[in-house]
Amino acid sequence: MPRLHIKGRILQLLEERGPLWDYEVFELIAAEYGEVEGQYWYDTLRLVLADLYSSGLTKSIEEKLDSAKSFGVEKILFRFELTAFGRERMRHTGISTRRRQEVMA
């Protein structure tokens, strides 16, 4: 069972894998967190991503419309990337895995 909270893990995924589409974030989180499934959680994770975007931790680098990726409802899809501020917040809250690797190295 994953120990990190979902919002923290989303930030980690963006750090580890680089820019991700919101549906990719959903697929990755759903694979790790048992309770995350279906449209309800897809929408919930989009709200989490909207928080991160509004707070300036991420920015959008690409957008598209593809209802097949959002449970048949046409929504604007975003490809999010961590900002420098987001990386810094991750370091300050111990969520960044990069820092741990650097410390160990």
Binding site: S54, L57, L65, D66
Partner: protein
């Protein structure tokens, strides 16, 4: 599937606007419920065992403490229902487990929000009156906006500064007439200064809590963060403050609380207080990531208006003129702060160096005034 550029651009603009709009909707929802909370919050003082234990200063301090603790317990209960409905109980456990770097900010915020701000509010309600208690905390956005500026560089524009100034003028109206009466010795009671102190505790405490919460909410889910903040408040009261206080006052606090929860009407008021306050608070936390702490707090200040309206309806007593005038000025100040240009709203963090080129920011955040450097 439509992928032409125009519709995409429209959709993108709409998405940004939606985020901002929801931020204000949450802040408004917070204001409505916050205002409503003063009715059950104040009614509790009229129910047994609280009504008959207020004759002495010590008695009233104990009653205010007992009500604050019960309020915290019932808010937490309401929040567990909320998390269960949303399916976020597991994430609550995970976030709580990240105590070292993540949830500790929520625990820190709870110190200022609970034993300082909420207890202060109950003192203000008890010693001066509900109308004063309600409008005194209107000053909190000043504290919150300034701390958010210092700690994490939330932008304070000239316009926001003007709004803050107007809020302060509103505060002068709210506090000065009553305080002058106290100084002249013609005030409402010999211990009324405790109520004014409580009023100051409420706005300073909530201002600090908001600023700290904004920091924690960068990396946590508001629906989970708020229950953790109330878990912390419950721990502070039940495991630390009440046991220590009981060394000095005996088992009074426990018996007051127990007699309270075994009275059906008290339970009803507590349930209403827990629901209104819990959902007001969670809306407050949900607004912060979307529109920023300063703006979220300023807009939530509309609660002062709702509180005066609710209290007038339920107590059938019109608030004194200075509360209306001061309250309206404070709310006007909040509006001046919030009606900023859209482009300012879109990026709430004007972190120096964090522009298009993603320049270096470490030096900026490593400054002495940075919250992140505390306790490291």
């Amino acid at each position: 599937m439509s992928t032409n550029g125009t519709s995409l651009q429209t959709a993108r603009a709409r998405y940004k606007e939606t985020g901002v709009r929801w931020g204000f909707i949450w802040a408004l929802w917070c204001a409505v419920l916050w205002g409503a909370w003063y009715v059950p919050g104040f009614a509790l003082f009229y129910e047994e065992p609280f009504a008959s234990n207020q004759d002495t200063t010590a008695g009233l301090l104990k009653v205010a403490a007992a009500i604050t603790v019960l309020n915290a317990i019932f808010v937490l209960l309401a929040m567990f229902v909320w998390m269960a409905v949303l399916g976020k109980v597991k994430d609550y456990g995970r976030t709580l487990g990240q105590s070292r770097n993540v949830s500790r900010w929520l625990w820190a915020g709870a110190v200022f929000g609970g034993p300082i701000a909420i207890y202060g509010t109950y003192l203000a309600l008890a010693y001066v009156g509900p109308q004063f208690g309600a409008v005194a905390a209107l000053l909190y956005p000043i504290v919150g906006a300034m701390l958010a500026r210092i700690w994490y560089h939330e932008r304070i524009t000239r316009r926001a500064a003007l709004g803050i100034l107007v809020v302060v003028i509103g505060g002068v109206f709210i506090f000065t007439p009553g305080l002058l009466d106290e100084i002249r010795g013609t005030g409402s009671g010999e211990d009324a200064w405790l109520g004014y102190l409580g009023g100051i505790m409420s706005f300073v405490g909530w201002g600090i809590e908001g600023a700290i919460a904004g920091r924690a909410l960068d990396v946590t889910d508001p629906d989970v963060a708020l229950p953790i903040r109330f878990t912390a408040e419950n721990v502070y009261w039940l495991l630390i403050i009440v046991p220590i206080a009981s060394i000095f006052v005996g088992g009074d606090l426990y018996s007051l609380m127990w007699d309270g929860v075994t009275n059906g009407i008290v339970l009803l008021w507590l349930a209403l207080a827990g629901l209104t306050f819990g959902f007001c608070y969670v809306s407050w936390y949900k607004a912060f990531p979307l529109i920023g702490v300063g703006r979220g707090q300023a807009f939530a200040d509309l609660y002062g208006f709702f509180a005066l309206v609710w209290l007038t309806i339920f107590t059938l007593a019109a608030p004194a003129w200075q509360f209306w005038v001061g309250g309206l000025i404070a709310i006007l100040g909040g509006f001046i702060m919030y009606t900023e240009r859209r482009d300012v709203l879109e990026v709430i963090r004007a972190v120096p160096g964090r522009h298009e080129d993603e320049g270096p920011i470490a030096d900026v955040h490593g400054g002495a005034g940075d919250l992140t450097g505390v306790g490291r």
